[in-house]
């Protein structure tokens, strides 16, 4: 019953509740986007508990601070206010509900049987120093490919959102 243990459950509950709020909220699209932010931030909290500090900071900065703001921009620009569940989709919803229910049953039964203790951590785990070393020595190719991917995405987004192609 230590502090990280309790904190993990608090963050987990928050993440699940806001994820459910995001997909179930039909009337207010902006509230859905805000629930996504709460999910992101609580996941970042869980990352900190799992000793992934740099990843947590980047999650808040990139996901919570930029990606979801992009969603918010689009929702506000297009002035989307509400949505509704079409009657034809009710079948899908029942199927989805059944899927969720089965999953919860199976997972719940499995998880009730205790858990492993995580092993002790080496020094500097999850810090920027070790992560930077990994990124720039072992995984240098990934970094370069990501930069190419982001450039392509910027160009693509610009072209897609232009009003007329000259």
């Amino acid at each position: 019953m230590s502090v990280p243990f309790v904190l993990f459950y608090i963050f987990a509950a928050l993440a699940v509740v806001s994820a459910l709020a995001m997909i179930l909220n039909v009337r207010n699209t902006v509230a859905s986007v805000m629930s996504l932010v709460v999910t992101m931030v609580s996941l970042a909290g869980i990352y900190v508990l799992l000793a992934a500090y740099l990843v947590a900071a980047i999650q808040i900065m990139v996901y919570g601070g930029a990606i979801v703001v992009l969603f918010l921009f689009v929702v506000m620009l297009l002035n989307l206010r509400s949505d509704e569940f079409l009657p034809a989709r009710q079948r899908w919803m029942k199927f989805a509900g059944a899927l969720l229910g089965v999953f919860l049953l199976v997972e719940g039964l499995r998880l009730l049987g205790g858990f492993h203790e995580p092993p002790p951590l080496p020094e500097g785990f999850g810090g920027y120093r070790l992560l930077g070393l990994s990124l720039y020595t072992d995984y240098l190719l990934i970094v370069e490919v990501i930069s190419l991917l982001l450039t392509a995405a910027i160009v693509g987004a610009l072209i897609l959102a232009k009003r007329e192609i000259d």
Binding site: A15, L50, Y63, I67, A153
Partner: protein, 109 residues
């Protein structure tokens, strides 16, 4: 003492919630957000497993942060995907004045 097994369970739960969101919601923006939620669930699984095995794959003494490197990759890919996806949403909205996916579906069924 974070229960890492429950972390993996949480990741699976969030993934299924995201999946349910993609299947049932017809608003394209909420569908994109549900996809982001699925990607986040995968990130959580990566970080959880990395915490469970912080040493290298052969069991050497040094720390291996492969999971976290991959999480950074996934975040970057998600950012790129959201940028392009939202560009598509905006041009779709300009064409048909709706972001409901049923309105743009040209298939029979």
């Amino acid at each position: 003492m974070v229960p890492v097994d429950h972390v993996i369970g949480l990741s699976a739960l969030l993934f299924v919630i995201g999946l349910v969101g993609v299947m049932t919601r017809r608003n394209l923006i909420v569908m994109l957000m549900s996809i982001e939620l699925m990607l986040n669930a995968v990130n959580l699984a990566f970080v959880g497993f990395n915490r469970l095995w912080p040493q290298g794959p052969v069991g050497a003494g040094e720390a291996s942060l492969d999971g976290q490197v991959f999480v950074l990759t996934v975040i970057a890919v998600a950012a790129a995907e959201v940028a392009v996806g939202l560009g598509i949403v905006i041009s779709m909205f300009r064409n048909r004045d709706s972001v409901n996916i049923d309105d743009v579906s040209l298939l029979r069924w």
